[in-house]
């Protein structure tokens, strides 16, 4: 299990290298979130709560691992200043069968969206705006 909260850029392909190898793994799922350049976005600034962030993510990752019997799980989330096209975060899950790997990755994404202490600010031609939480993201937690 690997959890990283960092300012530096990462590469999904490089992170997946060797991920889940050695275990009894038949399925690997990865999700990567990318900064979209819509609406003239110049950059995104991500603020976080050091300490609480790492602990919250480690707890979600542990829960996903136990609940879906994952062979491995990886979460990386960035903070700081990002430009369109850059990866914001990724999760990866490795399990015996595909359904567990997909469900665990979606579970992690749904929790990260609404329960990991990050806040996004979009900076564009029209100024700065804090990204508002979406009701649908809150609702998504109900299925777990």
């Amino acid at each position: 299990m690997r959890v990283r909260v960092q300012a530096q850029r990462f590469d999904t392909g490089a992170e997946l290298e060797g991920f889940g190898a050695g275990g009894d793994v038949g399925a690997v799922v990865s999700f990567t979130g990318v900064v979209r350049g819509t609406g003239g976005l110049a950059r995104m600034e991500i603020e976080h709560y050091p300490g609480m962030t790492e602990n919250a993510i480690a707890r979600f990752a542990q829960e996903a691992r136990d609940r879906w019997g994952l062979a491995d799980v990886l979460v990386i989330h960035r903070f700081g200043s990002l430009v369109p096209g850059e990866p914001i975060m990724m999760v990866a899950t490795a399990s015996r069968h595909r359904v567990a790997a997909f469900e665990a990755a979606e579970f992690l994404m749904d929790w990260l969206k609404s329960r990991a202490p990050f806040w996004k600010k979009e900076i564009g031609a029209d100024g700065e705006t804090w990204v508002a939480a979406k009701d649908e993201d809150e609702t998504a937690l109900d299925r777990w």
Partner: protein, 82 residues
């Protein structure tokens, strides 16, 4: 004395990211009332509690949670990770 932290637009409205606060408040709500009484920038930040979340010692809690034994309180808008 308690450490109080502010994130995102709460931090921007208050103009600080962290401060030490002397309080006798029994609950988070009590602390919020004390802060709002200080200055307009606090009153503005805490205008609508339904738009805010609170963590006590880095655990999400409610506004009626007791402050007893708590070292660190953080106020912030709903999280937008992922």
């Amino acid at each position: 004395m308690i450490d109080v932290m502010y994130f995102a637009w709460v931090r921007e409205r208050i103009g600080e990211s962290r401060e030490r606060v002397e309080t006798q408040a029994a609950t988070v709500a009590g602390l919020v009332d004390e802060l709002k009484a200080r200055e307009p920038r606090y009153a503005l930040a805490f205008e609508d509690l339904s738009a805010l979340r609170v963590a006590l010692d880095q655990e999400l809690c409610d506004f009626d949670s007791p402050l007893d034994g708590v070292r660190e309180v953080a106020f912030f808008p709903p999280m937008t990770g992922g």
